[in-house]
Symmetry: C2
Subunit: 112 residues, 2 copies
DNA sequence: CTGTTCCCATCGTCTATCGATGGATGGTAA
DNA sequence: TTACCATCCATCGATAGACGATGGGAACAG
């Protein structure tokens, strides 16, 4: 029967925030970002590459990240993404907004 | 002069949860649901009617709410939405899933 | 009778996530 | 060497969900 599905991997609208926060740790390539998100969230957050790369393109366009080609630890060619100053500001703003909204949602969930 | 303002009013993917939780208080009509969300969240959550009604249709289709025509307190005709048993189960499940994901996001936001 | 508030609802747009897919490269094992 | 697998890049098409604009109708206050 069961067409059961894997419940949910991500909250829409939070991916940019997650990527920016991850890049705050240091420059990283796409694959590494996905791996780190999965690791830190203990397998709860699983971002596919087809979500990740469009998101990175978005962030590049807005000037929140910068990209540079390099070599990964395994000597493979890899594109490293790095947070810009504007990206750091954006991160702070998005984080605050996220906290604000989540707090509001909890108020609803906990109301009498 | 830009009183510009609200960048985001809602986290996509959380609307169903918010509606179900609101209906747990008791049967309510659409307008009332929106008003209550705004009130309880202290103006942070503002759901427009063009988001609300499609969402209610969705919930009806899935059998999580039931609808019935009646009269509002002001004697106007109003459609009252009510949580079904399946809806209550769904609410519990979505709430848990929401908590799970938000906790994971915080882990990312707070990582070293 | 006119305007305002309350209450219903749809259409079209836009943004974003995701499954499927494709390709290149380097390490490893047979 | 050859095969294979893991890593790493990226796009396309489908789908879903939120929102602005818009429309209507019924009660009540002025």
């Amino acid at each position: 029967m069961g067409t059961d599905k894997p419940p949910a991997e991500l909250l829409p609208g939070t991916l940019d925030l997650l990527i920016l926060r991850t890049l705050l740790v240091g420059p990283m390539h796409g694959y590494g970002i996905a791996a780190r998100l999965k690791l830190v969230s203990e397998d709860v957050l699983q971002v596919g590459e087809s979500s990740l790369y469009p998101a990175l393109q978005r962030l590049l366009l807005k000037g929140w990240v910068r990209a540079e080609w390099g070599a990964s630890e395994n000597k493979r060619r890899a594109r490293y993404y790095e947070l810009t100053a504007a990206g750091k500001r954006q991160l702070a703003a998005e984080r605050e907004e996220f906290a604000r909204i989540v707090a509001a949602i909890w108020k609803v969930l906990d109301m009498a």
